[in-house]
């Protein structure tokens, strides 16, 4: 079974790195298969950008995401352009300060987090993608959360490991609380 994940945002947010960390966690630490492809424009900063990740227990035949089960949106434009692709029953994750969804399908599982604001509070908004990955670890069963954390630590500059670990944990805790809150509501 292949799981397709689409991550969208704009250049400079670390969208490609986010996809890379997910794929790395699946490949190197969960010992599964993953591909990560990217699409971007000519701008180094600010242009729209997306990263497509496929994770599977089998070697992956086709690396494009056509029917994602998970979508992570870090920009309004990315959300609007791509949200229609998300499968029924899929998980929609977004940064609540950057994306204001006009319409959300009741067929989706929806989760949002002020990832950029959290990262700013922790001293560097560049870590918003890492906060988001922590959030992903909590709310989606894509990869082992510890594998993901390990992949984050391996991917960031050694001097910034502690800060990134804290950012990841912040997102993960926030996700955990959301899940608990929903479980309480359901009971």
């Amino acid at each position: 079974m292949e799981t397709e994940i689409l991550i969208t945002g704009f250049g400079g947010q670390g969208i490609v790195l986010t996809g890379n960390i997910l794929g790395m966690a699946a490949t190197l630490y969960d010992n599964r298969h993953a591909t990560m492809t990217q699409s971007y424009g000519p701008e180094a900063r600010g242009g729209s950008c997306s990263s497509q990740v496929v994770i599977s227990d089998e070697p992956i035949l086709f690396p494009y995401v056509e029917n994602p089960q998970v979508m992570i949106c870090m920009s309004q434009a990315g959300f609007q352009k791509n949200c229609a692709m998300l499968q029924e029953g899929g998980a929609m994750l977004w940064d609540s300060d950057l994306v204001k969804p006009a319409e959300l399908s009741d067929q989706w599982r929806c989760y949002n987090i002020p990832a950029t604001r959290f990262a700013e509070e922790m001293g560097n908004k560049m870590m918003a993608n890492i906060v988001m990955l922590g959030f992903v670890a909590a709310v989606c069963a894509l990869v082992d959360p510890e594998s993901l954390r390990q992949a984050v630590l391996e991917s960031v500059p050694p001097k910034t490991r502690d800060k990134n670990a804290a950012a990841f944990d912040r997102g993960r805790e926030y996700g955990g609380e959301i899940l608990k809150g929903r479980a309480r509501q359901e009971h």
Partner: protein, 386 residues
């Protein structure tokens, strides 16, 4: 201690990076290049990695100079490579020809994007395939490999070096933007498990050496700068002694020699893999990233009961002419997905020679071929063939 040149282990890296690592593992110690999307990551990694292994990276003023510097470095005794994309590949055609006529081993990786001209810098294409074959003027043979994954970027780059050293010519790794930028598992073996070929060097006395006299394998030994042979190397038509020879007989001998060394060794060069050919009615013939589209289509088709097969071309030049001819006589149709409006399919058609219908599934570039489009073509051709 394991050498720093071979990063043995499992990696999650992109194809461009894997290409650079393959080059280093093959013994490449010189890189000259010019930044160009989507091949820049090869140069970036080489600029960081080559000094770690005693090699040298230089960023040249353009791709013309890059290609010239490769040839110089190769005659200086180093294994050399460059990476580029369409516009740079066009500029390299001049000295690619010099590499061919002077029989200079080196490797050029073209991470293809959409063209013509500046085209689609950040998006995929497979439309330089005929340029790879005939892009430099004059008549010659070339070797081109097409990787379909980052792992193959690593493996095929090593093979490209080995072929270039063995047969003394520039070898092309015809990658594409998706393979170059896609991250996937790359397994780098132990250094001892990697086969590395070195060019033949002369053993005779300098006075007896004829630098362009082929041995039984069609290839002449190569004397590099400083080996003491004090040879002359020229881009003019030359005799076996390397000296210019401006006459039709010399041209006939030399061009045939360039062609023959590839033709007579084509079984050692040509590489392809087959899947589900035993009962296949319709066979998909694919190379590079389009192999991935074809594989997915094959799986989907088999699930629907369609008897599909796949031929994955690892080398596209020389083209596996005899194999395709045989195959065309046994199947109902051949379909080639490629990201252009019909290039390698012309070769496929030529080799099929009318024994079965041949169809293109192509578009002008910017994205990879969707498996569904391949399946529609399969359905169409099955209807026609009935």
């Amino acid at each position: 201690m394991a050498s720093k040149a071979v990063l043995t282990g499992t990696h999650f890296m992109n194809g461009d990076e894997a290409c650079a690592e393959g080059a280093l593992a093959a013994g490449c110690r010189f890189f000259a290049g010019y930044p160009i999307t989507p091949a820049t990551e090869v140069a970036e990694r080489m600029s960081r990695r080559l000094p770690q292994v005693g090699g040298m990276y230089i960023q040249m003023e353009d791709e013309i100079a890059s290609m010239a510097a490769l040839l110089g470095a190769s005659w200086g005794g180093k294994k050399a490579m460059t990476s580029t994309s369409g516009p740079g590949f066009s500029l390299m055609m001049e000295n690619l020809g010099l590499g061919i006529i002077t029989e200079t081993p080196c490797v050029v990786c073209n991470v293809q994007r959409g063209g013509p001209s500046t085209g689609l810098p950040t998006l995929v294409g497979q439309a330089d395939m005929m340029q790879a074959r005939w892009g430099s003027h004059g008549h010659y043979e070339i070797i081109a490999l097409c990787p379909s994954s980052p792992q193959e970027m690593f493996d095929f780059t090593i093979r490209a070096f080995n072929l270039s050293e063995r047969f003394r010519l520039p070898v092309l790794v015809m990658a594409d933007e998706v393979v170059g930028h896609m991250n996937e598992r790359v397994l780098i073996p132990e250094e001892g498990a990697i086969e590395v070929v070195e060019r033949k060097r002369p053993t005779c006395a300098p006075g007896q050496f004829l630098p362009y006299r082929p041995e039984a394998d069609g290839v002449a030994p190569m004397a590099c700068f400083g080996d003491g042979y004090r040879i002359h190397v020229t881009g003019l038509t030359h005799g076996e002694n390397g000296y210019p020879a401006m006459e039709d007989r010399a041209q006939e001998r030399m061009v045939n020699s360039l062609v023959n060394k590839i033709k007579m060794n084509r079984d050692a060069i040509i590489s392809y893999e087959t899947e589900y050919l035993d009962d296949a009615e319709v066979v998909l013939v694919a190379y590079g990233i389009s192999v991935r589209s074809a594989r997915r289509a094959l799986r989907m088709g088999r699930d629907r009961g369609l008897r599909l097969g796949l031929v994955k071309l690892n080398t596209v030049w020389p083209f596996p002419e005899e194999f395709i001819r045989g195959l065309a006589g046994r199947v109902r149709a051949l379909i080639m997905p490629e990201i252009n409006l019909g290039q390698m399919v012309l070769e496929l058609e030529r080799c099929a020679g009318g024994r079965c219908p041949v169809r293109l599934v192509g578009h002008a570039g910017g994205s990879i071929i969707r498996p569904g489009v391949i399946l529609s073509a399969v359905e169409d051709i099955r209807k026609e063939a009935v």
